[in-house]
């Protein structure tokens, strides 16, 4: 199924991003995407005035795995150790609507035709919502990169945008993937050790405490928000069943449509609140990663100090040790400096994004409550209608 999102929809869809894609020198968007079975093919469209690109306006097809490759390539670049790398977009997950579609197919025999059609419509809307969501997160990822002063100039990024053939040759082979998995495991072990290192800088000390705490809380909130919106969807589905039964008894057909709105409340709520939380959960993880790298650099620096002291004692390889120590110090300072910058701007960004999304969510809730009021009244009138007339 091909989905083309027009501009107004994209505006709305871009729910968690703030102030991205403003720099006219490099504008990126995903104007459409194709969904084949499990794979989603995104069309990445770039408009640029920069001379580093071969053409001013071009598009390339990309798959989810290409985005992951780009993300990992950035993470592994030493030079960016002091930056918060935007979190990789999550894999497109059509599991939930697909499962529901399956169940619907199985239960088809027990439902009336109208009910089945309506459930199918609901399901299709859900599918579309998942689809839109995944396009949006992929788009935001690219836009974060393009609006970052340093990352936007990355060579791999440019390749990603421009290379007009299949990127799979450049993608990780299986061995490398396994290697990175192992690296992640080591990292989390390191994390534990490093959080024990005494922090010299107040700013970073505070940030570390804050981020560790906030990260676990937001993970929790995200999970519960998801549960809540899922329950909401269940309630909406029930209303569909009920109105369908009533429909099959009375002769009013139009009234059934109204109940779709109840379903939409659920998906809009989800888009705003859950996605906001989920995005920032990932973002905070990225910030934590920065802290980790810096802490690692600090550990390295301290180790190098110790090594230097040892070398001085043994009067062996002193210059080497001194050089190494200098390197470590430099790295550490660089990380600290850029880290501070990144974390401060991150906080600002987060606050702005939360504000925008909370406002939009409240406005949507109000709007939908008003519509639901109508829908539910009409739903009840439908009942009234049914029960007040004898069987047709």
């Amino acid at each position: 199924m091909t989905s083309t999102l027009d501009d107004s929809e994209k505006e709305k869809a871009r729910s968690v991003s703030v102030d991205l894609n403003n720099d006219a020198s490099l504008l990126i968007d995903i104007p459409d995407a194709l969904c084949e079975r499990d794979k989603v093919k995104f069309t990445v469209h770039t408009k640029t005035t920069l001379s580093s690109f071969q053409k001013p306006d071009f598009s390339v097809p990309r798959q989810h795995e290409d985005f992951i490759w780009l993300h990992d390539a950035l993470v592994e670049t030493e030079d960016y150790a002091g930056l918060i790398i935007p979190p990789a977009p999550p894999k497109p997950d059509f599991e939930s609507p697909r499962e529901k579609m399956h169940k619907l197919g199985e239960g088809e025999a027990t439902m009336t035709k109208e009910e089945y059609t309506k459930m199918k419509q609901e399901l299709e809307a859900e599918y579309l919502a998942v689809f839109k969501k995944t396009v949006q997160v992929h788009e935001v990822f690219l836009q974060r990169l393009s609006s970052h002063p340093i990352l936007s100039k990355d060579r791999n990024f440019q390749i990603f945008l421009e290379y007009d053939q299949d990127l799979s040759v450049r993608r990780k082979n299986a061995k490398e993937t396994f290697g990175s998995f192992f690296k992640n495991m080591v990292k989390s072990a390191d994390e534990v050790i490093i959080s024990g290192i005494k922090e010299v800088d107040d700013f970073f000390e505070q940030e570390k405490t804050f981020l560790l705490d906030y990260s676990s809380k937001i993970k929790d909130s995200t999970a519960r928000a998801e549960k809540m919106t899922r329950s909401h969807k269940n309630v909406a589905d029930d209303y569909i069943h009920i109105s369908a039964t009533l429909n099959s008894l009375s002769v009013d057909d139009n009234t059934a449509l109204k109940n779709i709105d109840v379903g939409r409340v659920a998906s809009d709520e989800e888009l705003k609140l859950t996605e906001l939380f989920r995005y920032y959960m990932l973002d905070i993880q990225a910030a934590k990663d920065l802290l980790y790298r810096r802490a690692r650099a600090l550990a390295d620096y301290e180790n190098s100090n110790k090594a230097l002291d040892k070398a001085r004692l043994k009067s062996k390889d002193i210059t080497q040790a001194e050089e190494h120590q200098q390197q470590c110090l430099q790295k550490f300072d660089k990380l600290s400096e850029s880290g501070k910058r990144e974390l401060t701007s991150f906080k600002g960004r987060r606050v702005v994004a939360f504000r925008k999304n909370l406002i939009e969510m409240s406005e949507l809730e109000i709007k939908h409550a008003k519509v639901s009021q109508g829908a539910q009244s009409s739903f009840s009138f439908l009942c009234l209608n049914f029960f007040s007339r004898n069987m047709q």
Partner: protein
Amino acid sequence: MAAEMEPPPLGDAGQTDFREIEDGEGFFVSTVTILESPEPSSPDPPSMPAEGISTNGPKQEDISLDDDPEDLFAEATEEVSLDSPEREPILSDGPSPAITPVTPTAMLTPRMGLGTAEMFERSLDELEEDESGDTFDMHIAVSDPEKVGDGMNAYMGYKVTTKTSMTIFSKNETTVRRRFSDFLGLHSKLASRYLHIGYIVPPAPEKSIVGMTKVKVGKEDLSSAEFVEKRRSALERYLMRTVKHPILLKDPDVMMFLESSELPRAVSTQALSGAGILRMVNKAADAVNKMTIKMNESDAWFEEKHQQFENLDLQLRKLHASVECLVCHRKELSVNTASFAKSAAMLGNSEDHTALSRALSQLAEVEEKIDQLHQDQAYADFYLFSELLGDYVRLITAVKGVFDHRMKTWSKWQDTQLLLQKKREAESKLQFANKPDKLQQAQDEIKELEGKVQQGEKDFELISKTIRKEVSRFEKERVKDFKVVIIKYLESLVQTQQQLIKYWEAFLPEAKAIA
């Protein structure tokens, strides 16, 4: 089919109404007519376009079969309106006319059963005139469930309060204590007396071994409290339904139930008693018989009605199942909202940006309030909607039972006729056989059988007539019942939405204040 409308005069000076005048957004235009006054004429038909209204087929309520002069529903018409923006100002003007003098929140308190009965009464007082001319003015309340005794012999005692001004009762207000098996005993007496002659006897609430065992064992948890409340409410509805039936009301057992302080223990209602087993055997026998009787239906009305009730039964069961699902999911939603609220509060606490922190805490509070709303709504879903549907599913079983009795009566009549025929044939044979005493015996038998056949025919005609009356009464009641409940349910939904709007509108400035 003109759209008629009646301003609801009940209680209020008839100010509030559901009158909707609206335009073509492709919706049906509707009026909710709440029939109170006996004259069905409409004083001022609104300027409503009639388009789309008459697509729903013949409008008149199918009550015309009844000769009842107080045929209130003869010109009832309803259509459905979907005009949401228009609806708001009207509904927010204060809740439904007259049916609910109680405020909506009070409506949702655990004593709702009591409230419901009251509201029922107040509306029905002015609605229905008893066939005998005595205004139906009765109010029965079941309250104060108290556990009596201990262990497996414990039971719940309920207080039954009857308030009435009707002359057939000795006192204006009586209070007695009854237990569940008393209710079942009453039902079983009424059923054995009236069902087989065609009266629709309201079924008693169902036994529940699991529920009662929990109570007996003394589990003081939420589910057993809920169970007791559910049962109390069901018992109240049962009694009200029973006394609304003009014939049943005058039954001496009913009066004894309501008035006498001591009632002989109804042992035969126990599931495992001799009577219980006998009942089960009878039920099985009946089922078999039903399959074998092929009735020659001469009356199309019965054929049609029978089919209608079969359909209605199916649909109501389905609807009931869906609503129960809704109740369950809504409870789940409430739980999840509460847990999210807590989590958002914690998030707000750990947020270091002050304005955002405050906003998140506010969000948590809003969600908590919404959770409460969901709970209340679930409550309403259940007690208003789901239980009503359950009651009607059982009632329809009773109706079908009555139809079955008619079939049995017919069958008995036919069998007697066949037997008479056989005896006549035998007699004519005996005429030639020259056995005078056998002949006399045969002739006596024939006379007796002729009498029985006549009686059988009379019985059949009587039961048919009774059923017609009962069905029309049932349908009247059904419409009334559902209307009242649906309106209340509608209100609860609307109320919920309004609260939601309020909460979010209060939160919005907080979100905007994040700097």
